[in-house]
């Protein structure tokens, strides 16, 4: 009797601990706006703050825009400059959303689960709804979330000659990965 009570208590405690909100400060976002005529518009941000709440399925990301690193200094200046993302004025991009098929993800069992995410992405001070599919990978106590989607730069008020002449993709690919330990 005592043993079964102890086992039940252990399961309750571990389920509670596992279901708690998890955070990381080293999530990554890749931004790929390369085209067939130009391969420079590609950057990575490796110091993104992210959080997931397995109980509610809520997911959030926060990125400092200036932390996107390009290989080319000119492209980085262009990305941050007044003609494009105005990162002095709009310092961060954020995403706040939810896993909409939460029942399909078993956070207490190892595996790779296909997930659907819907939320609001704010870039350049403009918030737009975004829906995407991704994966939730459970390995022991760690949760890894990955997702890829495209955005229309025009939707976020980003217009420039480089986009018009095909040097920068009109719909860059965004890839997000967060490893919650």
């Amino acid at each position: 009797m005592k043993k079964s009570v102890l086992i039940a208590a252990f399961i309750c405690v571990s389920t509670f601990l596992f279901a708690q909100k998890k955070m990381t400060t080293s999530a990554t976002i890749n931004f790929d706006a390369t085209t067939s005529s130009d391969g420079l518009a590609k950057a990575e941000n490796k110091t993104v703050v992210a959080a997931i709440d397995p109980r509610s399925g809520s997911i959030a990301f926060e990125a400092i825009m200036k932390s996107f690193s390009f290989s080319n200094p000119m492209m980085q200046d262009y990305f941050n400059g007044d003609n494009w993302l105005e990162t002095d004025k709009f310092q961060t991009s954020t995403f706040k959303g939810k896993i909409t098929n939460l029942a399909a993800v078993n956070f207490s069992k190892d595996g790779t689960y296909s997930s659907e995410v819907a939320g609001e992405l704010t870039i350049h001070g403009i918030a737009k709804p975004v829906t995407t599919t991704g994966a939730v990978i459970i390995t022991g106590k760690s949760i890894t979330v990955t997702a890829s989607f495209t955005i229309k730069l025009e939707d976020y008020g980003i217009k420039s000659k480089a986009i018009d002449v095909g040097k920068v993709a009109k719909e860059p690919k965004i890839t997000v990965e967060a490893d919650f330990k």
Binding site: M23, T24, T25, S26, T28, L40, K46, T47, V49, A50, A51, A60, E62, I64, K66, S67, S69, S71, N72, P73, M74, Q91, T92, T94, D179
Partner: protein, 146 residues
């Protein structure tokens, strides 16, 4: 030289200069941070304090500059191809985070929690995180200052 030949010569010359200029700009790389001079040298806790006091003023002072920051490593967040180290104010949860330049990742992987380090890197600025309810300051292209 006839007028036509002169126009062709000038056009070819301008095209050649433009091509070289574009090639130069497109092939430029960032200078190795190890060879850059720090604009400021500051203790991590003092840096965090400045950002907590006013991140808009601190961003004007530090963002876009090479800064050397000294402090005790509060965590190392490593993945396959990257390492971030954090110098945090454990009382408030605010922190400075340093992502190392590719060629210095091996040395970054030798850093352990509790080590006293001086890291030199490019400050991208700091903001208040609504997720963490704390200030975070991000650095990229970092190297260990030896």
């Amino acid at each position: 030289m006839s007028r036509l030949k002169y126009i062709i010569f000038i056009s070819v010359f301008i095209s050649a200069v433009a091509t070289v200029g574009i090639w130069y700009l497109a092939s430029r790389k960032f200078i190795d941070t190890a060879n850059e001079q720090s604009i400021y040298s500051i203790r991590a806790l003092d840096l965090i304090k400045e950002f907590k006091k006013s991140d808009s003023i601190a961003n004007i002072k530090f963002a876009g500059k090479i800064i050397s920051v000294n402090g005790t490593v509060t965590s190392v967040e490593a993945a396959d191809s990257t390492v971030n180290i954090k110098l945090a104010d454990t009382a408030s949860g605010s922190y400075a985070i340093f992502n190392f330049q590719q060629k210095n990742i091996r040395e970054a992987k030798t850093i352990n929690q509790g080590d006293n380090v001086t890291v030199k890197g490019y400050c991208n600025g700091g903001v208040y995180s609504e997720i963490l309810e704390a200030e975070f300051i991000s650095f990229t292209r970092c190297v260990l200052n030896k």
